[in-house]
Amino acid sequence: MLVRFAMCVILALTAIGSSFAEATSVRGLHRYRLDNGLELFVLENHEIPLARIQITFRCGAVAQSAQTAGLFQLYERMLFKGNSRYGTETEFSAAMAELGVDKWYGGTGAEYATYYCTVPSDSLDAGLEFWSYAVTEPLLDAAELELQKALLASELEDQIADPDHAYLSSINKALFPDNPWQHDTLGNPSVVRNATVDSLRALQNEYYLPNNAALFVGGDVYPDKVYNVVNEWYGDWKQGPDPWAQKARKHRVDEAPRSAHLVLPDETLPPGIAYMELRYRGPDVASTPASSRAAELWSYLQDTAFSEYKKRVFDAVPALYDTDYLGAYYYPQRYGGQVTFYAYCYVDPASPLARRVSYDFFKAVVDGEASRMASDGGYLTDAVLAASTKRMSDERIIALESPQRFLHDLSFWWSVTSIDYVLDYESMLRGVTRDDIAGFLREYILELQPVIALRMNPVDYAAERASLEAAGFVVTTPEYSLWWKGGQR
């Protein structure tokens, strides 16, 4: 009798447990929301006895002001220097080692901060408990903060001095002239040096909240059991006001940059070889999802075997290096989508790079390919569009077969838009028409000006310097790239 009663209780509890989850269109993926607003996604896949734990916040550079640029990086460091349960970094590392984890991964990027690790699945409960203290109750010890401020500021200065960073920062400054700090993932060393415990607490109270976070757990796990453990360790985490309620902004095409010409003398390129690119401000996933999807498919089309794009551009532009070393792609972001056309080429005195990138390359990829794709109905056939959509969808199925990859992808899309973008991806992709692609090209490429940029060996730069300067190209020095120093644009 007692056994029967116990069975009934277990069955009843199981039934209650199952009701926590919201069904998704992906088999094995369960979606939950705790009372405090924390979203939980659990992917059940028992093939390997491991479990991944990943927590993601919507923050990062996009949440910075000129006065706080760099604080998210600093906060990340402090997150793992001690918390209410593991008071020191040593204790924190010891607990992590006990779980079989060498180190945590992740970081703070343009639009999110994410941290993850993998544990044996029989250590999942302990792993969830371990992470809960790190993300919900960091100590932010004042003495430790002083140490970390000095270390981080010094590291930032080293990274800022890196020519590669200066090049990318210069492009960002040109693409986002009104708010370059919202696209600067490193930040300002001076801001870091002046940080206080209070300024980090303010950041914590504004962004590191359960209702601005999502927990992704996947692998050899049982969803409702995970939900119960997460509720136990994260359920008391206090929510706050939605940090994005007042800040959401729509991408306006008139935010697009004025034309900029940039050049980096780059020792990593061998003499005789150069890199050229046209960078456009592309659609934003959150505010213009239809254009974003069209841009994704367009991006894939440029690289597929079904497309003649590479061959035609190679034939049209003098002295390009190889068809495998040219292409075009769209980088989706919530507030900072970008479209890039690029090619490696030979340095050729008969064909100066200033003209080749600004005229020949521009003419081939924008006036030629993009314009034709937008206006010529025969350029992109239904067969090529259908084959490309199918193949893109298949490649995605293969790429996301691993729960690790799937959750990573899910986390990214959650941070830049919503997971519906992932869950409905294949049907949305099939819904993209030739007209959608044409519309994207007209709005974001044909009617806007790109940032035009070159990288070339210093020897080659010296040889072409006069023609580059005459065409208005500016060298992307670290000094030029710093938005807080007001370098000329």
């Binding site: 390997i48 010891a94 080692a97 079989g100 984890v101 993998t118 699945s121 029989d122």
Partner: protein, 506 residues
């Protein structure tokens, strides 16, 4: 690469061996003569000390851990998804049904692989498989490439040393039927197109060439470990045809399929498509033995610089030995110890590996990379083994103390080992590999499911027992690869004697 020096250790050992054989032969001869003509001696000779028993891989397990009778949750949830059948042609079929998966993977694996061929012809099986993937009687290569392009499927091969090698199919479930038809035809009716043979052979020549530019590969080849890049791709198409018909036979074949597949349907499909595959009694494993233990080879890399690559190899237990889980765990801890010691004493890179093969050629190896004092390599390895044998491990928990008793750290090392072991094994193709490995080693495609249970069951006493039994006492095959400047300065005496010989005895 050229061998700069003869093999001091090896020749020394060979000479001693020859002396002993000669002495024995003389003794027998003398004895025979004595019996015939000489009376028995008046006084008994001094009894000679019993010759020291050479170290051998233990014949019986030394660890005492036991696998729990009940499988853990991971094994329990997965075991019912694995089904085994014997096909009409004698091959084994193992299917792991994962109905939720949108991707599937099939491996047609041949047990033995390069263990079936002499080391200098180890590439024959891989060459044959590579050619099988490039066209069949019903599907020329162009058709296969077109299908691959349209479906994102791939037909390729895996060459994994002396355990097994396989022809592989990976694809999206939506195209399963058409992809399997092509795959099965490649397996049972390969075209063996002479033009494609030239392509495949050229690829192999390039691969061998690049392997020979790699110090680690040079050392492995010099120590004649199985799967090493010895020999050259000089096989003819006839060699490949002979090898296919005599060696790619169904009694060596296991087909492992993972994905949204049903075992009965899959068995029926392969029964209808693989009837023409060659059958045979199977090849015997090659009898060519690896390098004699206790050799020291010095290989000239003909590169400038004063850094060396050192590789030491010892034989160890076979895959089926119950000591293997404890041994693998022990070597992973040894790796941590060795890293700490090497980093502190000479700043070189290092690793310790326990390579468990499906054939009986399993080994443990120690590798020191970019070391400027190679003569110290053996001493560093000895030191790490000595510490582990006395129950000491790196603390892995931070703090002031660098080391801690094994009892305190073993749980963390077990978790770390499980994490590392499975880290990159997501996906149907990787699961299929685990299952082929399992079948080749234990005759059971599902055996891998209990590896976690076995690691969790290992106790500190097991670690110390396997270290003392397998790592203290064996003679090591050492190979040092470096430029001509450093090699003459190597102290060959530093590599003499058994591993762990300098330990205090416990």
């Amino acid at each position: 690469m050229t061998r700069l020096f003869s093999i001091p250790g090896r020749w020394c050992r060979a000479s001693l061996w020859m002396v002993r054989v000669c002495a024995s032969a003389c003794a027998i001869a003398v004895s025979a003569v004595s019996c015939a003509t000489v009376p028995a001696p008046v006084t008994a000779p001094e009894p000679e000390p019993a010759p020291e028993e050479p170290w051998r891989v233990p014949e019986k397990p030394v660890s005492t851990w036991r696998l729990p009778s009940e499988p853990g949750p991971y094994a329990a949830v997965n075991a019912p998804t694995i089904h085994t059948r014997t096909l009409a042609n004698g091959a084994t079929l193992i299917v792991k049904s994962t109905p939720d998966s949108r991707v599937f993977s099939i491996k047609a694996a041949f047990h033995g692989s390069s263990a079936m061929t002499p080391p200098d012809r180890f590439y024959l099986e891989a060459l044959t498989l590579a050619l099988m993937a490039r066209g069949s009687r019903s599907y020329p290569l162009d058709d296969i490439l077109r299908l691959q392009r349209e479906t994102t499927g791939t037909i390729g091969y895996t060459d994994s040393g002396c355990g097994w090698a396989s022809l592989n199919l990976d694809g999206v479930t939506a195209y399963r039927e058409e992809l399997i038809s092509v795959f099965a035809d490649c397996l049972a009716n390969p075209a063996f197109d002479p033009v494609q043979f030239e392509v495949v052979r050229d690829e192999w020549s390039s691969r061998l060439k690049s392997l020979r530019a790699d110090r680690r590969e040079v050392a492995i080849a010099a120590s004649r470990r199985y799967g090493a890049a010895t020999g050259s791709a000089e096989a003819s198409l006839d060699d490949v045809l002979d090898y296919y018909s005599s060696a790619m036979t169904t009694e060596r074949l296991v087909i492992v399929a993972v994905g949204n597949l049903d075992v009965e349907t899959t068995a029926e499909l392969f029964n209808s498509k693989l009837a023409s595959m060659p059958r045979g009694t199977g090849l015997a494993a090659s009898t060519d033995e690896p390098l004699q233990a206790s050799a020291l080879l010095l290989e000239d890399s003909r590169e400038p610089g004063n850094l060396a690559y050192v590789l030491g190899t010892i034989p160890t237990a076979t895959a089926s030995s119950p000591d293997i889980p404890a041994l693998r765990l022990a070597v992973s801890i040894l790796q941590e110890l060795l890293s700490g010691i090497v980093k502190a004493e000479c700043g070189a890179g290092c690793s310790a590996r326990c390579e468990v093969h499906a054939c009986d050629k399993s080994s443990i190896s120690f590798e020191l990379r970019d070391i400027d004092r190679p003569s110290e390599a053996r001493q560093l390895v000895d030191k790490a083994i000595g510490m582990l044998a006395s129950g000491v491990s790196p603390t892995i928990k931070g703090g002031d103390s660098e080391y801690a008793p094994l009892e305190e750290t073993l749980a963390g090392y077990k978790s770390r080992h499980i994490n590392a072991f499975y880290a990159d094994r997501y996906g149907s193709a990787e699961i299929a590999s685990l299952m082929v490995d399992s079948f080749a080693r234990y005759g059971d495609g599902a055996a891998y499911l209990r590896y976690v249970d076995s690691i969790r069951a290992v106790q500190p006493a097991d670690i110390m027992a396997v270290v003392k039994a397998y790592l203290v006492g064996p003679s090591v095959s050492w190979v040092i690869v470096s430029g001509t400047e450093l090699l003459p300065m190597v102290d060959t005496a530093a590599f003499e004697g058994a591993l762990g010989a300098s330990l205090d005895g416990d």
